[in-house]
Amino acid sequence: MASGDLAGLYQQVILDHSREKHGFGLAEQADASSHQLNPTCGDEITLQLHVAGGVVSSVTWEGAGCSISMASASLLHDLAPGLTLAEARERIALFRELMHSRGAGIDDEDELLGDAIVLEGVSKYVARVKCAMLAWVALEADLAQVDPR
């Protein structure tokens, strides 16, 4: 029998995403691509950004890692299309704030993260925050390539 905390960490939607991996598979061309590695556990991801008219058209990726890192990339794939580059940056910042909230969550703007809010439970497990952040850090690097600041 798993504890309530563990069930909160591994919600069914997370386990589903970790298997379904929305957006898995790299395109031949992309506007930006970034490879990220978590050397402590070997989780890795290559994440491509596709932009059309100043707006994210899609995010594609390939990688291997734990269920949290895979689900997070899948959820990011669902969230990103239609965001302006500035909005994408804001969502990454918001997601990072959520991950560093130590289980407290974020108050107002959580609907901005779409289904990715289900990863809130990860913030109770400090050792797993990097797993959830991996894809988002990759997108952040992609954004810096297409829109350097």
Binding site: A2, S3, T40, C41, G42, D43, G65, C66, C131
Partner: protein
């Protein structure tokens, strides 16, 4: 389930005895996530008995002072305790006390050697240090199964000196390919470095055979004893290795103390790595002379309380009986491998059940990443290691990036082994893997 070798090793501890000695370990008396802690991560670091904690505290309460200097009583007491600790540890591994160099950990010990050889290659140490000189055409041989600590420093040494690094490959079960070892170790080989026991597979390497091959061609042998010194009867003189390293924190002692063993004549000829106070004879503004080993390698203020605590740890292990600990862990390891092997979708990395191996097992769970396995077990109060265990090349050899390792020590019971087997058996259904 007595292991066939149990009679040769001595009588294994019993669960009843372990339940009594566990009371000596304060950290084991706690609950994690509402369950009694099952600590199966001793391969990473061990828990400490009260006698070790008390020894460190007593030093600071009564004897704290600088060693090897000062004429006052406390300084003399501290020096005596520090040197007695060296003698205790030397006896524990069957060597002389001037052959024991204190380091921070095994990693520092290997780096000390690598930089000492590097310095010899730059001409330091003169003709006495000639056998440590590496140059283009020389070879260092290590294995595919090493902890990064016994690989990266040799990569760096090879890069600094122009020597070539070679690797003895492993078989599918993690044992060394000894025919390849015969082929790789030759007249060009100057150093052979390998682990006694793999921290991933529990494979016990054939030290005697490798030492013979190395010495036949005049190469030096470095043994990584991190996973053997805490768990098995170890006599480095009989094994005839030239150098060996191990870490205190894996054998009931605090962090910050480790050991480099070297044969006396080699240590006295090896140029120092860290230089400064406490390791010199005469110092002028231009140049300095160095003390013989071990002091020539112990520059600066030493790890005094940690060394004394390591001696207390060795006393504890000796009182329990290392042969009995070895026999007990052999039983626990066999139970662990038997149990894991019987779970569908769980692959044990390393030798199969019934094979000669140490008291640990790493597994790959089909469809579930090691981090998720570890998280699931933690929820049951079970502490295991997940990741590559600082052995990426070996994991790559097995076709995985990470694994989950359960590693036992003298304080683990059969009920704890059964708890982790039971937990492992529930992992795939929790994560919905068919």
């Amino acid at each position: 389930m007595p292991h066939p070798n149990a009679t040769e090793l001595g009588t294994a501890l019993t669960d009843d005895e372990v339940l009594v000695l566990r009371r000596d370990f304060p950290a084991l008396q706690q609950q994690v996530n509402g369950r009694d802690l099952v600590y199966l991560d001793s391969g990473a670091t061990s828990q400490k008995p009260a006698s070790v904690l008390d020894a460190e505290r007593a030093f600071y309460e009564h004897d704290n002072s600088a060693v090897h200097r000062g004429a006052h009583t406390l300084a003399a007491n501290a020096t005596e305790l520090f040197e007695n600790a060296r003698a205790t540890v030397a006896r524990f591994v069957g060597v002389r006390e001037n052959e024991i160099v204190w380091t921070s950990n095994a990693t520092e010990g290997i780096n000390l050697l690598a930089y000492g050889m590097s310095n010899a290659s730059l001409g330091r140490g003169g003709s006495d240090a000639a056998r440590f000189v590496l140059r283009e055409g020389d070879e260092i041989v290590t294995t595919e199964g090493e902890h990064h600590a016994n690989l990266v420093p040799w990569q760096e040494l090879a890069a600094r000196t122009g020597a070539t690094l070679r690797h003895i490959p492993v078989n599918d079960d993690g044992t060394l390919r000894m025919d390849d070892a015969e082929r790789l170790i030759g007249p060009q080989t100057k150093l052979v470095a390998f682990t006694h026991i793999s921290n991933v597979t529990g494979v016990i390497n054939p030290v005697e055979d490798l030492v013979r091959m190395a010495h036949d061609v005049g190469a030096l042998v470095v043994l990584d004893a991190c996973q053997s010194a805490p768990h098995r009867v170890l006599d480095l003189t009989t094994l005839d290795v030239d150098f060996a390293v191990f870490s205190g924190h894996k054998m009931l002692a605090p962090t910050g103390i480790g050991v480099l063993y070297g044969r006396a004549e080699l240590l006295d000829a090896l140029p120092p790595f860290l230089t400064g106070g406490s390791m010199i004879t005469t110092v002028t503004l231009e140049a300095s002379g160095y003390l013989p080993a071990p002091q020539r390698f112990e520059a600066g203020t030493q790890k005094v309380s940690q060394a004394i605590a390591l001696a207390a740890a060795v006393d504890y292990l000796t009182a329990v009986g290392v042969d009995r600990i070895e026999a007990w862990e052999t039983e626990l390891g066999a139970r662990l491998v038997d149990g894991f092997s019987a779970i569908p979708g769980v692959r044990v990395l390393g030798p199969a059940a019934g094979e000669h191996r140490a008291g640990l097992a790493s597994v790959d769970v089909d469809g579930v990443h090691a981090h998720d396995v570890g998280q699931f077990l933690d929820d049951r109060g079970i502490a295991v290691r997940v990741g590559h265990h600082c052995a990426q090349p070996l994991h790559r050899r097995f076709g995985v990036t990470a694994s989950t390792r359960a590693s036992a020590y003298l304080y683990n019971t059969t009920a704890e082994i059964d708890a982790v087997i039971d937990g492992m058996g529930a992992v795939r259904s929790f994560f919905g893997v068919k």
